[in-house]
Amino acid sequence: MSLSIRHSWFEATARQRLAGLLDPGSFCEFLPPAVAQPSPHLAQLDLPGAFDDGVVVGAGQLGSRQVLVAAQEGQFMGGAVGEIHGAKIVGLLRRAVAERPAAVLFLIDSGGVRLHEANAGLIAISEIMRAVLDARAAGVPVVALVGGSCGAFGGMGIVAKLCSAVVMSEEGRLALSGPEVIETVAGVEEFDAKDRALVWRVTGGKHRYLMDDCAALVDDDIAAFRRGSIELLDDWQETPDTLARLRAKQARLQGRLSAYGRCRDGLEIWAALGISEPERVPLLDCDELIALKEGLPT
């Protein structure tokens, strides 16, 4: 059965994702573990660090295109951004401006700021935001791949949406505040974080795809992320933002807010989009959902 040859992106480590995403043997790591130091800030708080501080950066090839890559490790401190972690990503994006690779692939798997290094993390995310926009302004597409167990939350949710495009799996989540945070502050009636089906109807890949918040939806499979990224870059032309484009985006966001601003569940929006059996959406496989979206009235 084909199930057994699937290599889940959700489950894989950052290094396993890179190994399967890039052309075999093409990856070369910058600042690899053997020459790196774990975060001194974690050590100060009596916590063990990781040699790569939870992010792997380097260069490689994707379908023979030269690319730069950054992959966050969701299993280490929730992929959260600390001083070294953030600085590695910033350095990679600056390198992209100088080197002009075919793309930067950003494998996001992060809850946002690492609280143990809160200020360093927040500022680093701000620097990453500026650096992503600098790379894009230099004509280098930055593609966010979101399908890890930590999703893309907090500042990393903002970073993902600053990228040229987002490729997601159904398992991926993309949002600002985590459901647990909303539940803690606003109560379980506002958001029951344990109702995982609801969490995914609000933040998951399928909903984001139906709402055009991600450009491509792929299966939870490393090979599918690879195919999805190659196909996306095949057709991609990175062009600088213009006033007209930002105005159009502003209008689209305004329109969407007035149309769906009162909705509280993906089911309501999907029905409003013209999907006849919205409750079936979570059960559809990736191809079925893509076909469903193509058939929707525009």
Binding site: L3, R196, G204, D220, P282, L283
Partner: protein
């Protein structure tokens, strides 16, 4: 000589009649309005009654439990509760509020800590902590309920009941109560004109009440494959190759932990590659574990009889009626009493996990400050000396235990544990916490779940110890130390003796079984997520929301 006093021979029937009269005088018919349930309970229950409150492993008569707890302790008190599982806060409220004083039960799970406190305060008298079969047995001997409060899926106008897939303990409870002058009250989720099938006939049921919300069912048997570790995969490989294959185990029961879930998920992959399809794991006494779906779909499994059902499995079970026991209506019927009997007498193997093991192989899940009980594990995890039918696995184990001239076989009772639990708590200990618990509770026996003399094998990440082949208590102890890894118990092993046991095949390492630990990859699991299980089921399995990530 004086004439003997005339004895009344139908006092139970008379008592039942009076209770029913009291109910009738308050205007109650068979169908009780939901807002008058407390009036009914106070009318038919008397102080000192033995009351069975249906609390199963999964299905709970939760509305009746809460209603009973809200009754007036001045009118209802000194109840003797008999129930298999004490799972809900309201079950303990009965004792805290002075309605009940004595308890016979099997398992308390989440209420274990509150229960222990009540015992220490001497506000509860525990008759005994039973296994399921013992408790059911005593329902028909000396613990027969005066009143049974049960849960059913639906009732029709006559009062016939449909129990749904989670039949569980209901048939045993109703049979004991209804045929010994007792009163049976059922909470139902719905009233329907026509039931899918009749599980309990109307004349065994005195009253029904439609509960304000469906009875609670705990998804107790759903294990997310995503949480299975490589170490569990390694142990599962060892168990399959070193025990299932060698004994040809076809009839079995599994525990509910991740260790055995790993075995279930290796059947379509690793076991199939070893050519074991059709040779092992064909007939099961088991709840419908979602992790068994890939093995069923691969053709490994011929039959599964269930203690209860599992949330989300109904459509799948209905569509696989060759495998599961289903009624003419297509839906499943489970039965804990029969399935426990199958587990005790008809299975060749029980395999499960535990929290602690001592040097004699005794195991316990008891921890200090909690009285959790046993459930059904000791029934399944014991060698029934009354068994007489033979099977290859049973005979082989018997020859290992008693020599080539053995006149009986032996059940395989396997304990499968990692040497350390989380937070580095060693599983192997010199003395079980159960002994300290016995002392602090003043109990007659320590709460040992599976006795060491019933255990045939222990599987850890370090290897398999075959206790059947041990000939002296010393050998047994060293065999256990020999698989106890880096726990203090393991490090205190006699290395030479363990190596000697290894030469005799009593202790076997992964490499002795031809297994390289590095092959133990999660890639071997037929499903690595709950979503994979849904895919295997062809979309028939509908997991509860908390197990989804889509």
């Amino acid at each position: 000589m004086n004439a003997p006093l005339p004895r009344v021979w139908d006092s139970l029937r008379q008592s039942r009649g009076k209770r029913l009269e009291r109910a009738a005088s308050l205007g109650f018919g068979k169908e009780i309005p939901v807002d008058r349930i407390i009036d009914l309970l106070e009318a038919v229950i008397q102080p000192g009654d033995r009351v069975c409150l249906e609390g199963n492993n999964q299905k709970q008569a939760d509305f009746l439990a809460e209603s009973l707890a809200d009754c007036d302790p001045a009118r209802i008190n000194h109840l003797q509760m008999v129930q298999s599982v004490l799972a809900l806060p309201s079950h303990v409220d009965l004792f805290e509020r002075g309605l009940a004083s004595r308890l016979d039960f099997s398992f308390s799970g989440p209420q274990g800590a509150r229960l222990a406190k009540l015992v220490q305060q001497q506000r509860i008298e525990i008759g005994a902590i039973h296994t399921y079969l013992e408790l059911f047995g005593r329902y028909f001997l000396d613990l027969t309920p005066n009143v049974a409060l049960i849960a059913a899926q639906a009732a029709d106008a006559q009062g016939n009941l449909y129990l749904g897939p989670n039949t569980e303990d209901t048939p045993a409870i109703v049979e004991a109560t209804a045929f010994k002058g007792g009163i049976v009250i059922a909470q139902v989720n719905e009233r329907v004109e026509k039931l899918p099938r009749v599980d309990v006939p109307a004349d065994w049921v005195d009253f029904t009440v439609q509960a304000p919300r469906p009875n609670y069912i705990e998804p107790l048997f759903t294990r997310d494959p995503a949480q299975i570790t490589e170490v569990q995969v390694l142990m599962a490989m060892m168990a399959i190759k070193g025990i299932y294959a060698e004994y040809g185990v076809t009839r079995l029961n599994h525990g509910i932990g991740f260790d055995t879930a790993a075995i279930e998920l290796l059947l379509p992959t690793y076991a199939a590659e070893l050519g074991l399809m059709g040779k092992i794991c064909t007939h099961w006494a088991l709840n419908p574990h979602p992790t068994l779906i890939p093995a069923i779909e691969s053709g490994f499994v011929e039959s599964v009889h269930c203690f209860g059902s599992e949330v989300g499995m109904d459509a799948y079970i209905a569509a696989r009626s060759d495998v599961f026991f289903t009624g003419a209506d297509g839906s499943m019927r489970s039965n804990r009493a029969f399935c426990q009997t199958a587990g005790l007498y008809a299975c060749d193997m029980f395999i499960g996990s535990t929290l602690q093991l001592d040097l004699a192989g005794n195991s316990s899940t008891a921890t200090l400050g909690r009285i959790t009980g046993f459930g059904g594990a000791p029934n399944m995890g014991s060698d029934p000396h009354g068994r007489r039918h033979a099977s290859p696995a049973w005979l082989k184990a018997g020859r290992e235990a008693y020599g080539p001239q053995a006149t009986r076989g032996r059940k395989l009772v396997v304990q499968m544990v990692e040497t350390f639990r989380e937070h580095m708590a060693p599983v192997f200990v010199e003395e079980l916490d159960a002994w300290q618990l016995q002392r602090s509770m003043g109990a007659e026996l320590p709460p040992i779940m599976i006795h060491g003399d019933d255990v045939s094998h222990i599987v850890t990440e370090e290897g398999i110890a075959n206790l059947l082949l041990c000939r002296t208590p010393e050998e047994r102890e060293q065999a256990i130390r020999g698989v106890a890894g880096f726990t203090p118990v393991g490090m205190a092993r006699d290395k030479a003796m363990v190596e000697n046991l290894r030469d005799r095949g009593i202790v076997r390492r992964p490499e002795d079984l031809g297994i390289n630990p590095r092959q133990a990859s999660r890639d071997l699991l037929a499903a690595r997520s709950v979503k994979d299980l849904v895919r295997w089921s062809g979309g028939l399995y509908a997991p509860p929301s908390r197990f989804r990530n889509w």
